[in-house]
Amino acid sequence: MTPLHGYLFVSALLFAVGLAGALTRRNAILVLVGVELMLNAANLNFLAFWRYGPNPEALTGVMFVLFAIAVAAAEAAVGLALVIAIYRHYRSSNVDEAATMKG
């Protein structure tokens, strides 16, 4: 196994773990934690491809990760604000308790 494959292997597993968390947890905050893991897996991919890619001088992968971290931070902030908004109405941050709409 080359180093690149090692990193890609780790990030694929991390992505799957994050996805499993996002799909199975009830608490909206923990779903968000799963999403963060998925985003981090993608970041690891970018860096691995950058380091072992054809032209690392362009720093493309690094820049993408820098932007992805900033976007993820903004997204987490909005998500947590939504959790607070939900909590005001339902006194709970569980996804399946906030389920009044059906059809």
Binding site: F15, V35, M38, L39, T60, F64, F67, L82, A85, T100
Partner: protein
């Protein structure tokens, strides 16, 4: 990059900066001068500033409509088509902003209108780039604005719930998109779409390529609400404030379809595979064909069972995403854009009518439209035009949208390989007539309920709705008027 380049960037993006300036003007005016005014006054004021600013941006776009540019490694790619799409987006945003004057769902209208403008700015950047990083950042700008707009009604638990669902699905979709982009970058060493296109064909048939395609299409499938990534749509349409739902259904759809079409046709042309009958081979054509099939079948069947008008619209939107994917399969940008723009105009119009009716009657069901003919003739006619256009009745715009999309898919490949998809789309359109006519039956046939008075929106909204209905009629009667700009 020299100072001249910075100046050029500033000049080429003048419409976008005008939009951003409008955001700041709205926030400033609302915060500084209008604190003690009524909500109705402030929403009208904010919508007026937005209209003025966007009219200026539209003027700049029309003035420089013949521009072509490709700057900074595909970060900024302008073409006449992208300029016209931006014009459409500005128009949709103006209508959405005026919808805020119908019904008081928040005290913070200034911020809401500013968010509409910020989302518009994101969409404008989204349609003028061929760079994966820009696509990701602009897409997130649009998404975050829409999540916040969806949650804006703080008195309504449903608004918060809709926003949370929209956000959680959206966050997962963003992670899928990012993961897919990372594979595209890994395979080609570039995030510039034409460079990716040149290199990705070496990897056709590679499992990694296929995974990248599936992940990216899944991420965008969420934005356009294609089955099986549609789960957020009915709740978001039902719970969100009417203008937010209108913008999710219109502007966001136009921008997402445009960028998905561009990503697949400009970035991944060599790895389409095939979705033709008995000649399936892995690639994005096959993936998109599956999404389109699932969306058309599920969207139409689920719409049949709805009693809430907004949920009906959501499932109809899912079905329409399926039809529009046919234009992407057909690889015809004019067909896709004609479809997306006319569809967006129609749905923003419907949500306008919904907003007025809900605001005056408080009833969100299809039955709430009973006897609308007696209560507001203008709204009845406008709603009928929009609904018939969604159903695809000639000579309205929806008919030609479907015609171009289906024709593009039918023409693709040799010996009509996609006939099965087109046949399915035609069948699904026939099924959809049933539930669209249910809506019209309420308007024109059902008895007027006792004790229900007239229904009328504000004069600006009424004029805008009439204009939208007229636009649907005109672009349907003479599709060349619109489609020649999109070629």
């Amino acid at each position: 990059m020299t100072n001249g380049d910075y100046y050029q960037l500033l000049k080429l993006l003048a419409p976008e900066w005008t939009v951003v300036g409008t955001v700041l003007a709205i926030l400033f005016a609302d915060l500084q001068f209008w604190r003690n005014r009524s909500v109705a006054w402030r929403s009208a004021g904010a919508a007026s500033i937005l209209s003025l600013g966007f009219a200026a941006a539209a003027g700049l776009l029309i003035w420089k409509r013949a521009v072509t540019a490709d700057l900074l490694g595909g970060t900024l790619v302008l073409s006449p088509t992208s300029q016209y799409v931006k014009l459409a987006l500005l128009g949709l945003a103006i209508v959405t902003a005026w919808l805020c004057t119908e019904g008081e769902f928040t005290k913070h209208v200034g911020e809401f209108v500013a968010l509409i403008a910020l989302a518009t700015a994101g969409m404008m950047f989204l349609v003028s780039t061929e760079n994966l990083l820009m696509v990701f950042v602009a897409l997130e700008l649009v998404s975050l604005s829409l999540y916040v707009m969806t949650a804006f009604n703080k008195r309504s638990p449903r608004s918060a719930e809709a926003a949370l669902k929209y956000f959680l699905f959206g966050g997962m979709a963003a992670a899928f998109t990012l993961f897919g982009f990372s594979f595209l970058y890994g395979l080609t060493g570039s995030i510039h779409l034409p460079t990716i296109a040149a290199k990705i064909s070496w990897h056709a048939g590679d499992p990694l390529t296929l995974v990248a395609i599936v992940l990216v299409v899944a991420g965008f499938g969420f934005k356009i609400a294609a089955v099986p990534f549609h789960l957020w749509a009915p709740d978001a349409y039902e719970g969100a404030p009417a203008p937010a739902a209108a913008f999710i259904a219109s502007g966001s759809k136009v921008a997402s379809f445009f960028v998905l079409g561009k990503l697949l046709s400009v970035g991944l042309p060599g790895v389409g595979g095939s979705g033709a009958w008995k000649a399936f081979s892995p690639g994005w054509l096959a993936v998109v064909a599956i999404l389109a099939t699932a969306s058309m079948i599920f969207g139409n069947l689920a719409a049949l069972a709805q009693s809430s008008l907004r949920r009906l619209l959501a499932y109809s939107a899912i079905a329409h995403a399926g039809y529009a994917l046919l234009a992407i399969i057909g690889g015809s940008q004019p067909a896709l854009l004609y479809y997306a723009i006319t569809y967006a105009v129609t749905s923003v119009g419907i949500f306008g009518v919904v907003a007025v009716v809900e605001n005056r009657t408080g009833n969100e069901d299809i039955a709430g439209l009973a006897g609308l003919r007696e209560r507001s003739f203008l709204l009845s006619v406008a709603l009928s035009v929009f609904v018939l256009s969604l159903a695809g009745v000639p000579p309205l715009a929806g008919f030609f949208g479907k015609f171009y999309a289906f024709a593009a898919a039918a023409k693709l490949g040799s010996s009509l390989g996609y006939w099965w998809l087109v046949a399915l789309a035609l069948g699904a359109s026939c099924v959809s007539l049933f539930y669209y006519l249910q809506v019209l039956k309420q308007v024109w046939v059902a008895p007027v309920p006792e004790g229900q008075g007239k229904v009328a929106g504000g004069w600006v909204v009424s004029i805008l709705l009439a204009l939208l209905a007229l636009a649907v009629l005109v672009t349907g009667a003479a599709p060349e008027l619109l489609i020649r700009f999109l070629k």
